[in-house]
Amino acid sequence: MTMRKASLIQGNRACTEGALAAGVRFYAGYPITPSTEIAEIMSEELPKLGGKFVQMEDEIAGMACILGAALTGKKVLTASSGPGISLKQEAIGYAAMAEIPCVIVNVQRLGPSTGGPTSSAQGDIMQARWGTHGDHPIIALCPSSVYECFTLTVTAVNFAEKFRTPVYVLLDEIVGHMRENVELPTYEEIKIIDRKKPTCAPKEYKPYKIDESMIPAMADFGTGYKWHVTGLFHDETGFPTGKTDVIDSQLNRLMTKFSKYEDEILLWEENQLEDAEILLVAYGSTARSALDAIETLRNEGIKVGLFRPITIWPFPEKVLRGKLEKLKHIIVPEMNYGQLMLEVERVCKDKVSVSGLFKVNGLPITPDEIIAKVREVL
């Protein structure tokens, strides 16, 4: 299992290998193109490792099912695409509120509604942030390569466990379905994080008692620790409360619980940014087109660079703001009508003008289209 060599691996498969390497031993869901391979492979591999795979009656049941398993101590994953992710939203909010670690892989296809099952898109960026109702914390990671499908799924599982939160891995159809020759890390090379368990006696356990880490210790159901789980606002015992001061402090903590961990959570990549005058902000498969465009434009002496947010949520805004000094313009190419561009604009517009390059017909944004857009703004 630890001996690996370069082989031609699909993005969706790399995602499952990352999940298994990170210790995921429970999967429930309902297969949907273009994420189906993830369910298929998990159904084959989990039983071999003593894990469980459950095909549920629908997507929300799949989401609810992994939350139940997570409460018993399992590391859990589900995967879907747009229509299924929409159905899961109620339970994703429950996971954020009750602080249940879980990973949701969304292999994005063209929406809205059932849209284009086999077409690529990046239209679920804002859904990942605000898909479920109410203010809530969320982490979303966005791989650009098959290798990152592996490593970022490991990271997602680790973040879910450490920060007790739902974490999205946002693939797009291109990254999910393409195959690349990669050498995946061995199990020895991977850092694994497990959730913090209570050290007190079962009788003294308060499931939402907060220490300086901001993240409460989580007991496994069935081990003698009593715990009430609810989507209602709750006090440190886990039982519902209507006290406004408790509600206030709970929501405030939920919304700021990642703040002290930003150095760990915010991931990004830079390419030829030092002297860049034009910056491309691109993610997922679109970042690959941006790299080819940069190579061509640099050969002509045009100073273009790339900022690729890997952590999309929380958005690495302070990092990006620190890169604006020499920039004349920012272009955000994305396979939607400007979902992340709005965020980039919010962060940068007082210093640098921002424009978007949008394509929403199921086809990828090509390097030539990015090159043409750069020439337009020069």
Binding site: S7, L8, R179, N181, S285, L291, D292, P364
Partner: protein, 179 residues
């Protein structure tokens, strides 16, 4: 080595994505950079389907074919849909047992009865994709015949080695005669 872009097209169920994976795996055996991708309709069988393979010695960023060097078309629909945009010195390979009518006025078109060869010479229609990929490898030498053979044998079900080896040899021989 230059960057090679292959577009393998036909209808769902002909094994073109498998053919693309095998070509990619043969290139991986030779230490090359490979990206394989596909596009297909919602149908499991039928409907135009294409697999793309890019092989290069340097890192591949944009994962889709920009302009193919080689097009394989194994259905009339695919030939019409995908058989026009190609590099100036590209080659279009047509399965003449599946495509009745195809012309391209700028590039070389090779017509091979791939599916008929699979049925008559190998005895199994489903080996057509292997004949096709061996033909393309023979035509381009993008990988060696040995690498292709190893990649095919790594992927096929046990018990089908003899028929797939035969299919590879047929594809290779036709390519050498057409060159």
């Amino acid at each position: 080595m230059k960057r090679w872009e292959f577009r393998l097209s036909g209808s769902g169920g002909q094994g073109l994505i498998t053919a693309g994976i095998i070509l990619g795996e043969a290139a991986v055996l030779e230490g090359k950079e490979v990206v394989q991708s596909q596009s297909y309709g919602p149908e499991a069988r039928g409907g135009a389907s294409k697999a793309e393979v890019i092989i290069d010695t340097k890192k591949i960023h944009y994962p889709k074919v920009v302009l193919p060097d080689i097009i394989l078309a194994m259905s009339q629909e695919a030939a019409q849909k995908y058989g026009s945009e190609i590099k100036e010195n590209g080659i279009i390979v047509i399965d003449s047992s599946m495509v009745d009518d195809f012309k391209h006025d700028k590039v070389k078109v090779l017509k091979i009865p791939i599916t008929k060869l699979a049925k008559d010479e190998v005895g199994k229609t489903f080996t057509a994709n292997i004949i096709a990929i061996a033909f393309l490898v023979g035509l381009t030498k993008v990988v060696s015949f040995d690498s292709l053979k190893q990649a095919v044998l790594n992927r096929i079900p046990k018990g089908t080695e003899a028929m797939n080896t035969k299919a590879m040899e047929i594809g290779w021989q036709w390519s050498q005669e057409k060159l």
